[in-house]
């Protein structure tokens, strides 16, 4: 029997969002210290549930350490750095965009030679481990300036897409946003040749902060016994990259998904509904699920 427990919590802003942002009894492994953190504006040109063209946008933080770099949502990075004030009043909008844009946390070089991605298909979060693969880069004529850094142009193929990028030799690292890496300088701008995905550098902080890895996803629940919110850590599901690709294609690529992002859910699902002025935000398994989604635009085609 399908049962749903819906908990309406109205006008609870800071405490609720703190739990959604997974700070508290989360167990974090420190992988290494950063040399610097780069911040990117990541945009996807897609269409909404009615088919109207839209552009979604979010900021990503790329934490670069020795041999390890991690790309995740900038607001989550700020939250971990306890820079809550910079997130702003509205804690929920970026979770909405995270869900619309299917933002994964990608850690390249952990373990050595591997890349781990934390992908989400609500209500579950998956840990996907793969061999680190470097795009086949070709340096091309031309240069430009991004954030005051002189950048060289390059082009490369990566899993079915051709990426046109700029990299800054003045920042000597092979790192780049998401899984784009392997150039003799930080990738400061990247766009696929279809103009769907764009990463643009908007900030750099030279800082030494830990690059962390969480052993599981945080899930907030309302305890009927204790009559309060409790947060538990649930281990990630594991999947291969191929399995994940297939599953995301089946779910997010389904034609029903934009108008009903829960079309694939069956059985018992516990929904946490957080009332905010801008609407109700619903979470399943600690993951935000929008009422309406946008057309899925995969970053990897192969």
């Amino acid at each position: 029997m399908k049962t749903k427990l819906t908990i309406i919590l109205a006008f609870v802003a800071s405490t609720m969002s703190a739990q959604m942002l997974t700070r508290g009894n989360e167990k974090l492994d420190t992988l290494c210290q950063t040399k610097f953190t780069a911040v990117y504006q990541y945009s996807i040109s897609t269409s909404d549930a009615e088919g109207h063209p839209v552009t979604d946008s979010i900021r990503l933080a790329l934490q670069v350490g020795d041999g390890v770099w991690k790309t995740w949502t900038y607001e989550r990075y700020l939250f971990q750095q306890q820079r809550d004030a910079e997130i702003g009043d509205d804690h929920f909008w970026f979770m909405h965009n995270e869900a619309l844009m299917h933002i994964a946390t990608t850690t390249v070089g952990y373990p050595e030679g591997k890349t781990i991605s934390l992908e989400s298909i609500p209500p579950l979060q998956y840990e996907v481990t793969e061999d680190t693969e470097t795009p086949t880069w070709k340096i091309v004529e031309g240069s430009d300036s991004v954030c005051g850094y002189l950048c060289q142009k390059a082009s490369g193929k990566f899993r079915g897409k051709t990426w046109n990028v700029l990299y800054a030799e003045g920042i000597p690292t092979a790192a780049g946003p998401w899984k784009l890496q392997g150039l003799p300088g930080l990738i400061t701008y990247a766009a696929d040749d279809e103009g769907i995905h764009t990463f643009k550098l908007i900030g750099i902080y030279q800082e030494a902060v830990p690059i962390t890895y969480s052993a599981g996803s945080m899930v907030s629940k309302f305890s009927m016994e204790e009559l309060r919110m409790i947060t538990t850590v649930i281990p990630y599901e594991t999947a291969t990259r191929e399995e994940m690709q297939k599953q995301k294609k089946n779910v997010f690529g389904n034609r029903l998904y934009p108008s009903n992002p829960r079309f694939y859910m069956t059985g018992s699902n516990e929904i946490l509904s957080v009332g905010q002025k801008s609407g109700n935000y619903q979470f399943m398994g600690g993951l935000y699920v929008p009422d309406k989604a946008h057309k899925y635009q995969p970053l990897e085609l192969k």
């Binding site: 088919g51 109207h52 839209v54 509205d90 000597p172």
Partner: protein
């Protein structure tokens, strides 16, 4: 065959192996520990030949295919290309080694010396812009300048937003449809009350919602409306705050005063804004009560027929002495997620006076008729208004009802000193007008969804009564009264056919009852027999009757599967039934006629940033009761007008084309538009001017008109230097026909205008604004060809010696044509000093510091030329203080 294949394969392998060079090695630090992530690059000149990075063991391997300088590199051969092997790491000193690649495999180990490389840090600013679907969310703080005080000041800085002098907000040239605060539309069209009274720092976010649909039930419909939603900071939410304001000053040896207060409270479900201001200074709260949805200054048949005399305007400086005041109470209560109640109650008072002299050259076939006048108009207006709105806005149903009651009490005087050619004696003419009108209005709109069908019903009832308009012009008395009961009811069934097609079948019934009476009494009335016939009243007009217009407007729309292309077309069919009775001559006029009006609109969305729209339609208008009021009415001491007695019919065909492009993250917007209208009317306006009188009427003869216009607007923000650049250009062309001095005249008008504007903040303590407007107009008739042009430049500089103090100076320069080949210049200077404390904003303003008292310009109205010399308001000094009172949360 196999042997040949083997030979070819061997040769290929041999060539490849000959061309490949490998460089390997290990990188360690001074402690001989491996260094990972070192960028290793093989460079020839400035060209990167190959690159890689070291692994966790510090090892690297570079493979080079081909010679470094374009030559083939063979192992064992001497290469002419010297290459450089570079080792680069963010925590170590950069080193390089020169190599000549003689061997197939070259091994180069390297020891790096620690050195911290300093990166140029780039701070991430609070996201100035977020895009979510059709909504652009601006972080207002990212766009605020130091001197900005009100929400309006902040909104002006946003890309694509422009705000007119009266406070009307438009986005990429299109006026906004709704102004929300926290998702609630409390003020309707009177959003100036918010934009001019909410402190800029209290607004955190501005949402610009394109393709906005206010009604949730219309979520699946097409819309090109734009709306704005303001999100307030926590400082302004859940607690009341207010802004008392006061000011004192002097102008032309008179004391100026200003006082007022605005109180506000915004919670999630309740909002309140109360404001009251009074001033004789002219621009204190002047535009606060402007209703951008229109309808506040309603007109009636009698007030339209007997219009007021206007004030003298000026495009530079201020020409009107104004005393104005208002009280406004606005509240909105959200009862639940779909229902709300809104109440707005206002009282406004305005007193205006101005003065000017003009020289008119009326077209009279050959020699123009010259009349010089000196006018001193005075107007007083009292306008109370009350409205209440209930709305139930759900995704499957919508109901709203708005009831409003308005009144206006107007007094108008306009004494005129007249000098005509050939007459050296000036004549003083007195003019006085009183008018009172009331308006009761109710609007109901209901829609319910039944599966794929949507059923709507609207009902508008409008009652306007003007008990009396009295105009006294010298010893002439002209009075009038009118009553109007206008109703419009419609129902519409909308059916969705699949995902692409939609059919709409609205049926509408308009039923109006109108009555107008005019009475003109002249002492020297020529037609004595008519006086007797009307019992001593000279010219009595009285027309009443009804108009009944049933109509049906079937339309269909189609949207492509990718939603990029939208088209809609339909045919509006209406049957006009008129029955009017002129009681004066007991003449009954009836008409029953069917009109057909096709229309089409298309829209193509190229991508999320640009779209193009096109619309075209044919429209008819007929049956104005005013056409039957053949009795002359006196509208000024020298002007009379009379209708033709023929039911006027007009047809027009209009076409519009519009293109918009915005690149949100480049803060760039661009819009272009073009339109064309062609019309025909069965009557021709006719005017006869003599030295003593101007008579206007219409004659039964077709007249034609055509007009075309086009323009573009663009704006670009450069956030790093707080700069906004904008440009507008427009061109218009038109032709029209009318009868002048019993001759048919066709006039052709062409006009160009350009506006360039730049708001630049080159350094944090300096803000500059430069604006230039240039316009040129050409007017051509068969017998004359005239042109005029004008240039206006405005520049302002604001200096901030400390962040809380702003010293601003603004200069206006006008260069206007007075007559062909003769120009007149005018310069105006104003300055202000503003001090922003935590809870108060003090401002000392000096307007018209050069005390320029006159301004002359030329204008054309049809074939007539006017040279206006406007008297300007003198030097004004005013000190105002705005306090911010916020309660504790």
């Amino acid at each position: 065959m196999k042997r040949s294949f083997f030979l070819i394969l061997c040769m290929a392998v041999s060539i490849v192996s000959l061309a490949q060079v490998k460089v390997t090695g290990r990188v360690v630090d001074l402690q001989n520990k491996p260094v990972s992530d070192v960028i290793v690059k093989l460079v020839s000149g400035t060209k990167t030949l190959a690159f890689t990075s070291t692994n966790a063991k510090g090892e690297y391997a570079l493979e080079l295919k081909g010679a470094p300088t374009g030559e083939r590199l063979r192992v064992g051969e001497r290469s002419s290309g010297m290459v450089s092997l570079q080792f680069n790491h963010i925590s170590y000193e950069k080193v390089s080694e020169r190599l000549t690649l003689k061997e197939r495999v070259t091994k180069v180990d390297m020891i790096l010396t620690p050195k911290n490389i300093s990166l140029k840090e780039v701070t991430v600013k609070p996201d100035p812009l977020r895009q979510q679907g059709d909504t652009l969310t601006y972080n207002l703080a990212s766009f605020l300048k130091k001197g900005d005080v009100t929400l309006e000041d902040g909104l002006k800085n946003l890309p694509g937003i422009s705000i007119s002098e009266s406070g009307a907000i438009s986005y990429m040239g299109k006026g906004i449809s709704n102004f929300y605060i926290g998702g609630l539309d409390m003020l309707g069209g009177r959003y100036n009350l918010a934009t001019k009274n909410i402190p800029a720092e209290y607004a955190t976010q501005v949402d610009i919602m394109k393709h906005h649909k206010h009604r949730k039930i219309d979520a699946d419909e097409e819309s090109d409306a734009v709306a704005i939603n303001i999100k307030l900071s926590n400082k302004a939410r859940f607690k009341p705050f207010g802004q008392p304001e006061f000011g004192v000053g002097a102008r032309e040896n008179k004391l100026l005063y200003a006082g007022g207060a605005t109180g506000m409270m915004f919670t999630d479900n309740f909002q309140l804004l109360a404001s009251a201001k009074y001033s004789n200074s002219g621009n204190f709260g002047l535009y606060d009560m402007v209703n951008h949805s229109g309808g506040d200054n309603f007109g009636s048949l009698a007030t339209d027929k007997l219009p007021a005399w206007g004030q003298v305007g000026s495009s530079v400086g201020e020409s009107v002495y104004r005393t104005n005041g208002y009280g406004s109470l606005n509240a909105i209560q959200k009862m639940d997620s779909v229902r709300l109640v809104r109440v707005n109650a206002d009282y406004t008072y305005e007193r205006m006076n101005s003065s000017a002299s003009s020289e008119a050259y009326y077209f009279a076939g050959g020699d123009n008729i010259y009349i010089a006048e000196s006018v001193n108009p005075l107007a007083k207006a009292h306008r109370p208004m009350f409205s209440v709105k209930f709305e139930n806005n759900a995704s499957n149903h919508y109901f709203s009802d708005i009831f409003s009651a308005k009144a206006q009490f107007l007094t108008n005087e306009s004494p005129i000193l007249t000098l005509t050619s050939g007459d050296n004696d000036a004549v003083q003419n007195s003019q006085h007008r009183d008018a009172t009108s009331i308006n009761l209005h109710n609007n109901f709109w209901g829609t319910i969804r039944m599966g794929k069908k949507k059923l709507s019903f609207t009902s508008n009832v409008d009652f306007i009564r003007t008990p009396k308009v009295l105009m006294l012009m010298n010893d002439i008395s002209q009075s009038g009264q009118s009553s109007q009961l206008n109703t419009r009811h419609s129902t519409s069934l909308q059916v969705k056919l699949g995902r692409k097609w939609r059919i709409d079948m609205p049926i509408e019934l308009t039923a109006n009852y109108n009555f107008i009476e005019t009475n003109l009494v002249k002492p020297d009335f020529a037609d004595q027999s008519q006086q007797k016939a009307t019992g001593g009243q000279a010219e009595l007009g009285n027309v009443s009757g009804w108009k009944l217009v049933p109509g049906v407007n079937p339309s269909t729309s189609w949207t492509s599967a990718d939603k990029k292309f939208y088209s809609s077309m339909g045919v509006n069919m209406k049957m006009l039934n008129l029955n009017y009775l002129s009681r004066y001559d007991n003449k009954r006029t009836t008409m029953s006629e069917v009109f057909v009006e096709p229309h089409i609109s298309l829209r193509y969305t190229f991508n999320a940033t640009s779209e193009m729209s096109f619309s075209s339609g044919f429209s008819n208008a007929a049956g104005d009761i005013m056409d039957l009021l053949t009795t002359p009415v006196q509208t000024s001491y020298r002007s009379t007008s009379a209708a033709s007695g023929v039911i006027g019919k007009s047809q027009s065909w209009s076409t519009n084309l519009r293109y918009t492009k915005q690149v949100p993250f480049s803060y760039f917007t661009f819009g272009a538009n073009a339109s064309y209208t062609q019309g025909k009317r069965n009557v021709l306006s006719s005017r006869t001017v003599s030295q003593t009188a101007t008579e206007s009427t219409s004659i039964f003869r077709d007249s034609h008109s055509r007009s075309a216009s086009g323009g573009f607007n663009a704006s670009k923000n450069i956030l790093s230097i707080f700069t906004k650049l904008s440009a507008n250009a427009n061109v218009s062309w038109g032709s029209s026909e009318y009868m002048m001095q019993n001759s048919l005249v066709t006039s052709y008008h062409t006009g160009y205008s350009v506006r360039l504007q730049a708001d630049i903040t080159p350094v944090p303590w300096l803000e500059t604004n430069i604006r230039g407007d240039y316009g040129k107009d050409f007017l051509r008739t068969m017998s004359s060809r005239q042109s005029s042009d004008n240039l206006r430049c405005t520049g302002s500089v604001a200096v901030f010696p400390i962040p809380s103090v702003e010293i601003r100076s603004t200069c206006n320069f006008m260069h206007n044509m007075v007559e062909p080949g003769k120009y007149k210049d005018a310069s105006m200077l104003s300055a202000s000093v503003q001090y922003k404390a935590k809870r108060a904003v003090w401002k000392l303003t000096g307007e018209n510091l050069l005390d320029v008292r006159q301004y002359t310009r030329t204008s054309f109205v049809d074939t007539d030329r006017f040279v206006h010399t406007t008297n300007l308001v003198g030097r004004t000094v005013m000190l105002t203080c705005k306090l911010l009172l916020a309660g504790k949360k």
